[in-house]
C-alpha cells in the first residue's frame, strides 16, 4: 500500500471550493454594459468619447501601475481587478468628448492617484474616483470642462457628420492640438463648430422631448436616428438604461440605488413641474432622459466601494443623491448635478452604514 506522505496533502480552512466569479469579471461586465451608450454617443457626436475612453484607459493603467509600484504592491494582481479601467471608462464618458490629452491625464491622475490610492487603494476610497476626478477638473479648468465643440467638416456651415473622415481627423486634432497642420487656423474653425452640453451637463431641460417631436412629426424609427433631429441625448440615456438593466439582471448591481435615485427624481420633477410660464423646471421625462440621470443612477452611484452597504442604506443613499441631483439641477448653480450629488452621497455613507445595519434577533 503506497500511502503518500501526509506533507503532500493540502491543508486548508473551509470552504474548499470557490465561485468562479472574480472582481475583474464584475468590472468587465460594468464596462460591457457601457457599450450601448458609448455606441450611441459615437454615432451621434463623433469619436470624441471613444478617444477619451481610450486615452483615459492608457493613462489609468500607467498611473495605476506606477502607484502600485510605489506602494510596493503586486502590480499584476491589483491590475487584474480591472477597477482602474472602469474608472477610466466612466471618466472618459463623462468628460467633454474629445477633451485634450492633458485634461484627460489630469482627470485620471486625480481619480486614480488622489481619490483612490491616497486613501488606501481600491476598497478604501470614500469617494467615487471618477466623480472626484471630474469635480477636481471642473474646479481647476471650468472652461475646458464645460465647452465642447463638435468638429465640423472644414467647409463650415453644412450639417456635420461625426462619422465622416474629416471630422474623425479633426476630432483627433482636437485631442492633440499640436498634430494639426496649422493649429491657429484650426482652432478658429473649431470655434465655429457646434457648442454642445457635455455628458454630465444638462442641456435642454427647458425644451421638449426630441423623440416626441420626431414621433409627432410622424418620422418613424429612421427619423429618430437622424442626427439632425437632436434625439442623441435621449438615445444615449436609453443606452445607459439598457446597460444598467443588464447589470441588474446579472446581479452586479442591486435594484436599490437606481430605483431610489430615479424614483426620487421622478417624484420631485412631478411635484415641481410647471408646464408654462417662466419656470424651467423641466418635465419628468426630460429629467430622466434628457439629462445624465441614467448614467448617474446605474453606473456612477452604484460604485459599491463608495456606496452604502445594506439594502436600507442603499435606498437612503439613493434618495439623498436623487434629491441632490434635482436640487442642484433646478435651484443650484452648477450644471453637473450628478457629480456633486454623488459626492454628497459619498459623504453620508459612513453615517448611513453606521445606522443601517441588519438587526440580529436574540
Amino acid at each position: 500500500m503506497t500511502t503518500p506522505a501526509p506533507s503532500n496533502l493540502v491543508i486548508s480552512c473551509s470552504p474548499q471550493q470557490f465561485s468562479k466569479t472574480t472582481t475583474g469579471q464584475i468590472m468587465l461586465l460594468v464596462m460591457a454594459a457601457c457599450v450601448p451608450a458609448v455606441l450611441m454617443s459615437t454615432y451621434f457626436f463623433g469619436i470624441g468619447t471613444l478617444l477619451n475612453i481610450g486615452l483615459a484607459a492608457i493613462f489609468a493603467l500607467l498611473l495605476e501601475s506606477a502607484v502600485l509600484k510605489f506602494r510596493d504592491k503586486d502590480i499584476r494582481l491589483h491590475l487584474s481587478d480591472n477597477s482602474a479601467l472602469v474608472t477610466a471608462v466612466l471618466l472618459g464618458i463623462t468628460m467633454p468628448p474629445g477633451s485634450q490629452w492633458w485634461l484627460t491625464l489630469s482627470g485620471v491622475f486625480c481619480a486614480i492617484v488622489i481619490a483612490k490610492h491616497a486613501f488606501g487603494g481600491l476598497g478604501h476610497n470614500p469617494f467615487n474616483p471618477a466623480m472626484s476626478g471630474y469635480v477636481i477638473l471642473l474646479l481647476f479648468f471650468p472652461l475646458a470642462m464645460t465647452s465642447w465643440h463638435i468638429p465640423v467638416a472644414l467647409s463650415g456651415d453644412e450639417l456635420f457628420s461625426p462619422l465622416s473622415f474629416d471630422s474623425l481627423l479633426s476630432s483627433i486634432q482636437l485631442v492633440f492640438p499640436t498634430l494639426a497642420p496649422d493649429s491657429a487656423s484650426h482652432a478658429s474653425s473649431f470655434t465655429d463648430g457646434m457648442a454642445m452640453a457635455t455628458p454630465l451637463i444638462e442641456q435642454n431641460l427647458a425644451g421638449h422631448s426630441a423623440i416626441k417631436t420626431v414621433l409627432d412629426a410622424d418620422g418613424g424609427l429612421g427619423a429618430i436616428l437622424d442626427r439632425a433631429s437632436e434625439t442623441g441625448w435621449e438615445l444615449v440615456n436609453t443606452g445607459f438604461l439598457v446597460g444598467g438593466l443588464f447589470l441588474m439582471w446579472k446581479k452586479v448591481i442591486s435594484w436599490h440605488i437606481p430605483v431610489s435615485i430615479i424614483g426620487s427624481i421622478l417624484l420631485l420633477s412631478l411635484l415641481f413641474y410647471a408646464d408654462s410660464g417662466v419656470s424651467t423646471n423641466g418635465s419628468a421625462y426630460l429629467h430622466l432622459f434628457g439629462t445624465a440621470t441614467m448614467i448617474g443612477a446605474f453606473f456612477i452611484a452604484t460604485d459599491p466601494v463608495s456606496a452604502a452597504a445594506s439594502s436600507k442604506g442603499k435606498l437612503l443613499y439613493g434618495v439623498i443623491i436623487g434629491c441632490g441631483v434635482y436640487s442642484i439641477r433646478v435651484w443650484g448653480g452648477y450644471l453637473d448635478s450628478i457629480a456633486f450629488a454623488v459626492l454628497i452621497g459619498n459623504f453620508c455613507v459612513p453615517l448611513i452604514d453606521h445606522f443601517c445595519t441588519r438587526e440580529i434577533r436574540h
Binding site: 500500500m1 503506497t2 500511502t3 503518500p4 501526509p6 506533507s7 503532500n8 496533502l9 493540502v10 491543508i11 486548508s12 480552512c13 473551509s14 470552504p15 474548499q16 471550493q17 470557490f18 465561485s19 468562479k20 466569479t21 472574480t22 472582481t23 469579471q25 464584475i26 468587465l28 461586465l29 460591457a32 503586486d74 494582481l77 491589483h78 487584474s80 481587478d81 477597477s83 487603494g121 481600491l122 476598497g123 478604501h124 446579472k250 446581479k251 452586479v252 442591486s254 459599491p304 466601494v305 456606496a307 452597504a309 445594506s310 452604514d353 445595519t357 441588519r358 440580529i360 434577533r361 436574540h362
Partner: protein, 523 residues
C-alpha cells in the same frame, strides 16, 4: 466572455428567505447513482472516543480483550454523551493516540480493534411492541445505541415540548449524496425512525425535508408516505438549506433566535441518517456501528456511496474506489464548503463523517489570491444568518474583535457561503474563526487575571488580619481591633504605615553608616 452570474445566485422566490442563497456547483453526479455498497471489513478499526462535540467516552475494555460486533466498548461520561460500540468482532489491539478528523489535524485517543473477519454479533434485543415503551425508555435506548444526530452539531436533542418534528433529508452541500442514497434505498427505515420519534415527542407535525431536485429520493419516499401522518416537504436546492436553523425557517417560517436552540421554539430537527439509525436501534436492536458515507473526488475511478463501519481508515475506502495516489492533493471530510482537510490517510471515519473527497489539484485549485474587498455586498445577500460579512471582516482586520462580536460574529455558523461567493476571494471564514478564537482567548485570560487578582486581594486581606491580630494582642489594654471597612483602604493604610516605618529605619541605617564611615575616615 463567460457571464458569471447566470447560475450562481438564483433569483426565483420559491421559498421564504432563500432567494439569495448560493447555488454552488453541486458535483454530486459521480456518486449519486451508485447503490449503497457494504464495505469489506478492514484489518484495523480506529474508534475515536470523541465522536461528537461533547466529552470523550470512557473506555470499558482493556487492551487484549476480545470484543463482539455491537458490544459496548466505551461509555458516556455524562447524560448528554453517547457510548461507542465495536463495529465488528475482534480484539482490542491498542488504546492510544491516533489521527482524528478535526480542523487542526490533531490526534485523539482511539480504541484500535484488530478485526477477526468473523463479524460475530453479540445477542441483539429487537423491540417487538413499541407501544409498551415510554418516551423515557425510548430515549434511553436510543442513547445507549450510540446515536447522535448524524450531521451538524451531532447532539441528540433532549426532551422538551415539541410541536414540529423535522427529519432533515436535504443535503445542500456539494458532493454529499449519502442521505439521498439512503432515502432512495431505505425509505421505510427513515419513516419508521420518524414514527419512533413521533411517539417520543408527540409532535403535531412531522415533516421530512428533501431537496426539490433529488427526484429519485422523492419517488422512493412518496409511495411509502401514503396514508401516513408524515408530510414530505421540498426545499430549494440551495446552500445552506439543510443547515438546521435555515431549514426550520424555510419550513415553518419561524426564525430560531441567534442564542436559542430549535427546541426553544418547539421544533426538533434530526438528520435522516439518524432517523434510520434509530429504526435500527429500536426495531432491530443494532447500535450505531456503521454509516452511509459518500466517497468521491476526481482521483477515484468509481466514486460510491458506502455503508462503512465507523472507524474505517479513509485510505481503505479510497482504495476500494481505485484511488490514483499520484494525483491526490487534497482530502476533504465533509462537503466542499464546510468540510475539513485531512493530513493523514489513516484518519478514521467518525459518526458524523458524511462525505470523503479525494481531490486532485485540478478539482481543488489552491485558493486564488485575495483582492481588496470592493464592498459589493454579495456576501451579505448570501449569508443565511443575515449578517454583513464584509463589516465583520473590516472590524476583524482593524483588530476590533469586540466590535465584530456586536455585529453578530457569534451567530456566524461558518457555513462558508460568503467566502464562496466573494468575487475578491477573501478567506472570510478564516477571519471569523480567528476572531472567535481570539475572543475565547480574551475571555480565558480575563477570567484568569480575575482569579489571580482575587487571590492577591485575599492574601493581602489575610496578612492584614494577622497583623491586626498581633497588634491587638500586644495592645489589648489600649485598643480593641478595629473592624476593617474595605480591603482597599485598609491595605492602603497598612502599606502607608509600613512604608513610613521602613523609611525611618532606612534613614537611620544610612545615618549610622555615614557616622561610622566618618569616624573611620578620621582615624
Amino acid at each position: 466572455m463567460r457571464f458569471p452570474f447566470s447560475n450562481t445566485v438564483s433569483s426565483s422566490r420559491k421559498s421564504h428567505g432563500t432567494r439569495n442563497w448560493i447555488q454552488p456547483e453541486a458535483n454530486k453526479a459521480s456518486s449519486l447513482r451508485s447503490v449503497i455498497m457494504e464495505t469489506p471489513i478492514p484489518d484495523y478499526l480506529y474508534l475515536a472516543l470523541k465522536q461528537y462535540n461533547g466529552l470523550d467516552a470512557r473506555p470499558i475494555v482493556n487492551v487484549g480483550d476480545k470484543v463482539l460486533k455491537g458490544q459496548k466498548i466505551a461509555e458516556a461520561r455524562d447524560e448528554f454523551g453517547v457510548p461507542v460500540h465495536a463495529p465488528t468482532s475482534g480484539m482490542v489491539a491498542a488504546i492510544s493516540r491516533h489521527p482524528y478528523p478535526d480542523e487542526f489535524g490533531s490526534d485523539a485517543i482511539a480504541l484500535c480493534i484488530k478485526t477477526d473477519g468473523l463479524d460475530r454479533w453479540i445477542p441483539r434485543q429487537p423491540e417487538d411492541d413499541l407501544h409498551t415503551l415510554s418516551a423515557q425508555q425510548l430515549i434511553k435506548k436510543i442513547r445507549e445505541a450510540g446515536i447522535i444526530s448524524l450531521a451538524g452539531s451531532g447532539e441528540f436533542p433532549n426532551r422538551e415540548p415539541i410541536d414540529t418534528l423535522i427529519i432533515n433529508g436535504a443535503e445542500c452541500e456539494p458532493y454529499v449524496t449519502c442521505n439521498q442514497a439512503l432515502i432512495r434505498e431505505h425509505p421505510e427505515n427513515i419513516i419508521s425512525g420518524a414514527k419512533i420519534l413521533l411517539q417520543i415527542y408527540r409532535a403535531k407535525h412531522c415533516i421530512i425535508a428533501i431537496e426539490e431536485n433529488s427526484t429519485d429520493a422523492i419517488d422512493a419516499l412518496k409511495p411509502a408516505l401514503e396514508d401516513q401522518s408524515i408530510e414530505l416537504n421540498l426545499v430549494p436546492a440551495r446552500y445552506p438549506a439543510s443547515s438546521d436553523k435555515q431549514l426550520i425557517q424555510v419550513l415553518t417560517k419561524k426564525e430560531v433566535p441567534a442564542s436559542k436552540r430549535p427546541e426553544d421554539i418547539g421544533v426538533s430537527i434530526i438528520n435522516a441518517a439518524a432517523a434510520a439509525a434509530i429504526h435500527n436501534a429500536i426495531i432491530s436492536g443494532e447500535p450505531l456501528i456503521s454509516r452511509v458515507t459518500t466517497v468521491c473526488g476526481d482521483t477515484l475511478k468509481t466514486p460510491k456511496n458506502f455503508r462503512a463501519l465507523i472507524g474505517t481508515p479513509v485510505a481503505f475506502l479510497f482504495e476500494l474506489c481505485g484511488i490514483d495516489y499520484s494525483r491526490l492533493s487534497r482530502v476533504v471530510m465533509g462537503g466542499s464548503l464546510t468540510g475539513i482537510t485531512l493530513n493523514n490517510l489513516d484518519t478514521p471515519l467518525i459518526k458524523t463523517s458524511d462525505c470523503l473527497i479525494a481531490g486532485s489539484s485540478q478539482e481543488f485549485p489552491s485558493a486564488p489570491t485575495a483582492h481588496e474587498c470592493i464592498r459589493c455586498g454579495f456576501c451579505s445577500s448570501a449569508c443565511p444568518v443575515g449578517l454583513m460579512p464584509q463589516q465583520l471582516y473590516n472590524s476583524i482586520r482593524a483588530g476590533m474583535t469586540d466590535k465584530a462580536q456586536q455585529q453578530g460574529l457569534d451567530d456566524c455558523i461558518e457555513c462558508g457561503a460568503c467566502a464562496y461567493i466573494c468575487p475578491s476571494h477573501i478567506p472570510l471564514v478564516q477571519y471569523y474563526r480567528y476572531a472567535k478564537f481570539e475572543l475565547k482567548d480574551q475571555n480565558v485570560r480575563y477570567e484568569q487575571s480575575r482569579k489571580w487578582q482575587r487571590r492577591f486581594e485575599y492574601r493581602q486581606h489575610r496578612l492584614l488580619e494577622n497583623e491586626k491580630r498581633k497588634q491587638g494582642n500586644r495592645h489589648r489594654s489600649l485598643a480593641r481591633p478595629e473592624i476593617i471597612e474595605t480591603t482597599d483602604t485598609a491595605l492602603e493604610n497598612f502599606s502607608r504605615e509600613q512604608a513610613s516605618i521602613e523609611i525611618a529605619d532606612a534613614v537611620a541605617r544610612v545615618k549610622a553608616r555615614k557616622n561610622k564611615k566618618n569616624s573611620e575616615d578620621k582615624t
